[in-house]
């Protein structure tokens, strides 16, 4: 079945999530939709699956325009979806999950489980899935649960299959198996839309690649395109941001991180033996595609991760194993990557948010009571200094725009006596004016002799701010390179490849492991 999306446009208020997107997927083709988080890929697929109604444009299957009012319509039209977060009922068996929503019943409403079992076995045999129809879903490994999702779609005769970030939850082996399954499906004539931001997978299975950025199709590429080309297409940004900064005035090593390893609650390694040093007065940018361990690395530095090994030493004293309070007291300033979730209390006023991490003792608390006059004066002063635009310091932070919220976070963190400043995705989702302001403050902090770590998935931001760039891939640092390293090389490193120049030189991380 041939799928065509013609001029799909979807707006949420002022935000245009999809801007006249065209996409054609032929039967027996794997079409990759490549783009960063927030580029509009998932919105587009939710339009296709009938979850959102497009403001403009049409969906055409085999030349027939479709009106999809819900997932039921989409399924009946032959569109199946494998969600990133599985839509399975854990306490049901595989067969029960597969029949859910279109149960066949016998006399008196009795479920015809036998036919569902037959169907599961038949599909499982055809594609070599090795599924037991009577196994409980909750007992199955994640990769096998995903196959149940696929069988669910196939059991309803899906001729167009959408995989929404299917590898996000898989181990490398499971990913390889999924690739094999996708190739089998293609051989059977299924049209496949594969949504991802992982370059390696794209090059491995895609027949055609469409790159989406900020809600628009920015280009098509063939799988023979280099990683560098793909990365540039995907993370490049139309806005050229120039940050004026002088040469760094470096002091001694301030932060020393050695052999830092972080395990997530399931025991998976998220940060793998990472070592780096940051000197006072420099910005070390940590670049990489989202989800390669940057979040966990930063959280480990702040004491927000629990299973951490290795050394973190700031100005000669160890930070590892301390709780967040002590690490903040040691002079670490932190801008979290998700400011509404982790950085601010939305219903609190600007003033209250400015004292959020200083609610013990001076300067805002005396004898257990908040010094409201002092706090108000401070808030007025900082609102002015950091250009927080609001109707006053009593405005709840949740009512501010993203840029102004971020300025509140910056004002809070930069008002303390800092010995290290860590900013994760400092300009994500904020307006251009605020981006400029945030960048200036970060550079000013560096020029004040404070070591700065900036984590960013935006290559532009990385090259604009960094004195050195550490690129992370699958939890490891692929290499630490100067800020003037060409974008193509950085793009390659973000895909896990170590550039020859770096391989020849003595690199601080283990190049063998980085290639694998």
């Amino acid at each position: 079945m041939k799928l065509e999306l013609r001029g799909i446009t979807k707006r949420f208020g002022a935000l245009v999530a999809n801007d006249h997107i065209d996409l054609t997927v032929e039967p027996g083709e794997i079409h990759c939709l490549l783009g960063e988080n927030g580029a509009g890929k998932s919105t587009l697929m939710n339009v296709l699956y009938g979850l959102y109604e497009a403001d403009e444009g049409e969906i055409v299957l085999d030349g027939v325009p479709q009106h999809l009012a819900g997932p039921g319509d989409a399924m009946n039209a032959g569109i199946g979806m494998v969600h990133q977060h599985f839509m399975l009922i854990p306490v049901f068996t595989v067969a029960e999950n597969v029949m859910l929503g279109h149960e066949e019943t016998g006399f008196g409403g009795r479920l015809d489980l036998a036919s569902a079992r037959r169907r599961v076995r038949e599909l499982s045999d055809r594609f070599g899935f090795d599924l037991d129809p009577d196994a409980l879903v909750e007992d199955l490994p994640v990769g096998v649960q995903q196959r149940v999702e696929i069988v669910k779609a196939l059991a309803r005769d899906a001729r167009v299959l959408v995989f929404d970030e299917p590898t996000a939850v898989l181990t490398p082996q499971e990913t390889d198996e999924l690739m094999a399954i996708m190739r089998d499906l293609r051989a059977n004539g299924t049209a496949i839309v594969f949504i991802t931001h992982k370059l390696r997978e794209v090059r491995e299975v895609a027949d055609r690649i469409t790159v989406v950025r900020l809600g628009k199709v920015v280009g098509e590429a063939s799988p023979t395109a280099s990683n560098a080309e793909l990365a540039a297409l995907m993370v490049g940004r139309a806005v050229e941001l120039t940050v004026r900064k002088a040469a760094p005035r470096l002091t001694d090593d301030a932060l020393v991180v050695e052999g830092l390893t972080v395990l997530d609650p399931r025991g998976q390694v998220t940060v793998d033996d990472v070592s780096f040093r940051v000197r006072g007065g420099e910005v070390l940018a940590i670049a990489g595609v989202q989800g390669n361990g940057q979040t966990e690395l930063v959280e480990a530095l702040l004491g927000l991760q629990h299973r951490v090994t290795g050394r973190v030493v700031l100005d000669g004293s160890s930070l590892r194993g301390l709780d967040v309070r002590r690490i903040l007291d040691a002079g670490v300033g932190f801008v979290p990557e998700d400011r509404t979730q982790d950085g601010l209390v939305g219903e609190f006023s600007i003033a209250e948010n400015l004292m959020l991490d200083r609610s013990v003792g001076a300067p805002f608390v005396r004898a257990g009571t908040v010094r409201r006059d002092h706090l108000r004066a401070f808030a007025v002063e900082k609102s002015r200094e950091f250009d927080v635009r609001s109707q006053g310091i009593d405005t709840p932070v949740g009512r501010l725009s993203g840029g102004n919220q971020q300025k509140v976070v910056l004002a809070r963190e930069l008002s303390r006596d800092l010995r290290l400043f860590v900013a994760a995705q400092p300009t994500r989702g904020i307006d251009v004016g605020s981006i400029e302001f945030v960048h200036q403050r970060i550079v000013a902090t560096r020029d004040g002799g404070i070591p700065v770590i900036v984590v960013s998935t935006e290559l532009d931001e990385v090259t604009a701010l960094a004195d050195r760039v550490a690129v992370m891939y699958r939890g490891r640092i692929v290499g630490i390179v100067p800020a003037d390293t060409p974008r193509e090389v950085l793009g390659l490193m973000m895909a896990g490849e170590v550039p020859p120049a770096l391989r020849a030189a003595s690199s601080p991380s283990d190049p063998e492991g980085a290639i694998a």
């Binding site: 002022a14 935000l15 245009v16 801007d19 900020l214 809600g215 139309a238 806005v239 702040l302 927000l304 709780d323 967040v324 309070r325 690490i327 903040l328 007291d329 932190f334 979290p336 979730q341 982790d342 950085g343 601010l344 209390v345 939305g346 219903e347 609190f348 209250e352 004292m355 959020l356 991490d357 609610s359 013990v360 805002f364 608390v365 257990g368 009571t369 908040v370 409201r372 635009r389 609001s390 109707q391 009512r399 501010l400 725009s401 993203g402 840029g403 102004n404 989702g429 307006d431 251009v432 004016g433 605020s434």
Partner: protein, 413 residues
């Protein structure tokens, strides 16, 4: 965007302020009470014998039916008022004023327990364990009250402290279990209610708490030295407990609105993730919250056992106050002064309900229906807004911040 650029006119601003007031939950609370009383009136009329007698003549004598309904409702609510606030039919000012003191007497434990529930609400915890915390506090205060022999003042203070400590312990245990094991506080508090109830029932049959020579599961009377002294003289039931509860309200207000600890409490209540990143020990906050909440609920047990129930208590000493406290906290929007007002209102319902039943033969269950309806309406603000045609506040907040001159995203580029 361009036609929004000029400054908002004064008319707009007035409308914005009115919208803010009308959409505020304080107004919703008051309207919920009004609405519940209206429906209560319909129920009173429907269950009234005279009204039912007049009902068959709806078409021949509709005026008679209306008059009967009016008599029934006005009589019932009039009796409610006379029983709760002021009764001009009595002889002498003391007896005329007695109803309002009765209201405050009933309100005393409701406010205290309501504060305990409200505090926990503000930290995002559902303290359903008011019953258990009250029972433990009452047992501790009561035991000190009838066992020890101490001078007046010292005895009272010690009994009070013992009660608060008992409530804090029972509440703090919940916080500790939640912090250490992740156990859900709703389940833990409910189960601890049973534990406290049956433990107290058992202890009331042992020499530890049972009155000597009695076969009833009831404690001995509290020593006079430990009893809460009457506030307005012996002719009224109102005790010093009311002063303690007002003090507790002031303390809770200070805690939530002025103190650094309360600042952390609220931060955890609204966004525990941000609180954690800001170096606030969320687990410790849970324990501290439940300790204080337990002590506040415990105060309700203390004022009962050293006040109206000083002749000896049974395992029914909580009298449902632990659960009514949830209602009070909801009606008071979990604000200390709101709880004070809501507790007083519910005290009035309790005090007035008896007279309503005695004088007008309106079943006291109607009062309970009204109470339940109030909370039902508070839990469903859109319903109240719909009935009174109030604007929806979410429409207002969805607008973009007018002070922000730049668009949110760089999507245009």
């Amino acid at each position: 965007m361009s036609n929004e650029a000029p400054l908002r006119t004064g008319d707009d601003r007035v409308r914005a302020i009115v919208r803010e007031i009308m959409s505020g939950t304080a107004v919703i609370s008051v309207l919920a009470v009004v609405l519940a009383l209206a429906i209560g009136g319909v129920l009173i009329a429907a269950t009234d014998d005279h009204v039912r007698a007049a009902a068959p003549h709806l078409f021949t004598d509709p005026g008679g039916l209306l008059a009967a309904a009016w008599d029934a409702v006005a009589g019932a609510y009039g009796a409610l008022f006379q029983g709760a606030v002021f009764n001009p039919n009595r002889d002498g000012l003391v007896l005329q004023l007695k109803p309002i003191t009765e209201t405050l007497t009933f309100a005393t434990p409701l406010i205290a327990a309501g504060l305990g529930v409200a505090l926990a609400f503000r930290v995002g915890l559902f303290n359903i364990g008011g019953q258990g915390q009250m029972l433990v506090a009452a047992a501790c205060a009561g035991w000190v009250g009838f066992t020890l022999h101490l001078p007046f003042g010292v005895h009272l203070a010690l009994a009070l402290l013992a009660g608060l400590a008992g409530g804090a312990l029972w509440g703090g245990l919940v916080g500790l279990l939640k912090a250490r094991t992740g156990a859900h506080e709703v389940i833990v508090t409910i189960m601890l209610n049973y534990v406290a109830f049956y433990l107290l029932s058992y202890l009331l049959r042992t020499p530890l708490l049972q009155a000597p020579g009695s076969s009833n599961p009831k404690s001995p009377p509290i020593a006079d030295t430990a009893a809460l002294p009457p506030l307005l003289g012996p002719q009224f039931n109102l005790t010093l407990g009311l002063v303690l509860v007002v003090a507790a309200t002031i303390f809770t207000w200070w805690l939530l609105d002025r103190s650094a600890l309360g600042f952390r409490f609220k931060a955890v209540g609204i966004n525990p993730d941000a609180a954690r990143v800001a170096g606030i020990d969320v687990k410790r906050v849970y324990v501290a919250t439940m300790l204080i909440a337990g002590a506040l609920v415990g105060l309700a047990g203390v004022t009962q056992v050293l006040g109206p129930a000083r002749a000896g208590f049974t395992s029914g000493i909580d009298a449902g106050i632990g659960f009514d406290a949830i209602t009070v906290a909801l009606l008071g929007r979990s604000r200390p002064w709101g709880v004070l007002a809501a507790g007083t209102l519910f005290g009035a319902f309790k005090a007035g309900g008896y007279l309503m039943q005695a004088a007008e033969a309106v079943p006291i269950d109607i009062v309970l229906v009204v109470q339940s309806l109030i909370v039902l309406f508070i839990a469903a603000p859109p319903l109240v807004r719909g009935v009174f045609r109030l604007p929806d506040p979410s429409v207002g907040t969805a607008r973009q911040d007018p002070a922000s001159p730049v668009p949110e995203k760089v999507s245009a580029l």
